[in-house]
């Protein structure tokens, strides 16, 4: 089995660009990834592309070949749809294809156009990640689902809105130097607590924004990187996937994410590491409570204690294990199909010392990226390590 290197990463700015087509977004991100990698486009053997709501936002299915074309690549292409974990899944498949020798070079990433739908339209589009018959038709929205989990968490373990506000404050702070972030603006706890309610107990400041954007990675085999003298100092050494029942009410626990635990355990074992080895992580904070649940599922916090992690400074930039130094989905933005691969891009830059927040993790050698779909009926976790 060959190792997998990240030769290049590329992101568009994440934010409000309702007029930009997803093909244009992916063209920009993939161009940046190729420029960063030094790998010629003609060496690409496959394109793996994540997207969630393209049918609703752009009336566009069959997006694989469209995106290969947009990237200027002539190679077979596949679109991956796993709600907000779409490009995490694409990365996982890309890693497995390179490992088993199927390909030496792949282009993997994702894009999402969302803001052209407006708030109501995007809320409707995001809701299709839930069970249409048993959840959506009862009026459950995507924020509503996480609100149900947040309320269940408070009841089971304690904590409250103020603890969650600290997660938002931390992630906004982290996004300040990130030029690709949707919000480069600090917020205060009091401001977050005063924000309008979206779905109680969650307010506007507990929720990630609607975002347009794309991400791309050029992955190569270790052998290809060596043979072509490609500068690719970070390797993807672990990959894991977890699954769960689709509807939240069918899960054993309403305030835990077993699919993320399953993915994390698999990825840690695959890389031969333990949670204690993780120096830095990007976790899927579509809502503040989601960061708490992710920390616990990844064993970065004991179950029931993740709620105080941001407030007590265990996950801030100056802590031993900073979480979401990019700003997370909360402040960096969440163009859903682009998110999973964008998290990998952020961890690569943090480990390579090329991220605006790398100073906070100067000695880091091991990073983790956690991507979740729906109410975490799908999850991927990847382990990245400095290889040279």
């Amino acid at each position: 089995m060959t190792g997998v290197r990240v030769a290049g990463t590329g992101l568009t700015p994440f934010g409000n660009a309702p007029e930009r087509t997803s093909r244009d977004l992916f063209a920009e991100a993939s161009s940046a990834a190729f420029a960063d990698s030094g790998v010629p486009r003609e060496d690409v053997e496959a394109v793996l592309y994540g997207n969630f709501m393209g049918e609703l936002a752009e009336h566009q299915g069959h997006q694989g070949p469209l995106m290969a074309e947009a990237a200027g690549v002539q190679a077979p292409a596949t679109r991956y749809e796993s709600a907000c974990a779409s490009s995490g899944m694409a990365v996982r498949d890309a890693v497995m294809r390179v490992r088993n020798g199927e390909h030496d070079v792949v282009l993997v990433g994702g894009a999402e156009r969302m803001t052209n739908l407006g708030t109501a339209g995007a809320t409707e589009a995001l809701a299709i990640a839930a069970d249409e018959l048993w959840e959506v038709r009862a009026g459950m929205t995507f924020p509503g689902a996480y609100a149900l989990m947040a309320k269940a968490y408070f009841d089971e373990f304690g904590g409250g809105r103020e603890d969650l506000a600290h997660v938002a404050v931390k992630n906004h702070e982290n996004a300040l130097p990130n030029e690709k972030a949707q919000y480069q603006k600090s917020i205060e706890v009091a401001e977050a607590l005063d924000a309008p309610t979206v779905s109680s107990p969650l307010s506007l400041y507990d929720a990630c924004p609607l975002s347009d954007g794309a991400s791309a990675l050029v992955l190569t085999s270790e052998a290809y990187a060596e043979a072509h003298d490609i500068d690719a100092p970070v390797a993807i050494t672990g990959t894991g996937q977890g699954g769960d029942r689709m509807a939240l009410h069918d899960r054993e626990f309403l305030a835990r994410s077993p699919a993320a635990r399953e993915a994390g355990e698999a990825a840690y074992a695959d890389a031969g590491i333990g949670a204690g080895d993780v120096d830095v992580a990007e976790v899927h904070d579509c809502f503040t409570i989601a960061e708490v649940l992710a920390l616990e599922a990844l064993d970065l916090e004991p179950v029931g204690e993740g709620i105080t992690a941001a407030r007590d400074g265990r996950t801030t930039a100056d802590s031993d294990t900073p979480i979401n130094l990019s700003g997370g989905l909360k402040a960096k933005g969440h163009p859903v199909g682009a998110t999973g691969a964008s998290q990998i891009a952020e961890v690569v830059k943090l480990l390579a010392g090329t991220h605006p927040n790398s100073e906070h993790v100067a000695d880091a050698t091991t990073g983790v990226a956690h991507n979740a779909g729906g109410t975490v009926a799908s999850a991927t976790v990847h382990v990245l390590e400095v290889a040279e």
Binding site: T119, A120, G121, T123, E124, A127, L133, W134, E135, V136, R137, A138, G139, M140, T141, P143, G144, A147, L148, M149, K151, A152, D155, P196, T197, V198, S199, S200, P201, L202, R245, A247, L248, H249, D250, L254
Partner: protein, 129 residues
Amino acid sequence: MSDESARDAGFDDWLDAAETGDAYYLECPAGHTSLPPRRLCPTCGAAELDERPLPEMGEIETFTVTHVPTPAFEDDAPYATAIADFGPIRVTGQVVDLDPDAVDTGLPVELDVTSSETTGERVIGFKTV
């Protein structure tokens, strides 16, 4: 959107049953429970699924009051969505007979199929007992 005249077999049948007080859940020989439409137990794959009467009373286990709805519930917001535990199975629904601010965990509820103020479509509801 799908053809609105077409029923969702299994699901609409369940709503019909719930409207006459005959709601049910499915149980496999190993005791795993689920909601229709099912041909197979989602836990073990068993094909033998028996319909059993849903216990009359459930209890609100968690809830949220939604202020930013999908377009299908535009005129309904704010409304309370809850997950109620009926013992062998949980169900997600809207609390219909209480001010959303009065909804709380632990409240006993019964199923009550209601309709969306926005679309007139049937909605799984809970009324307090």
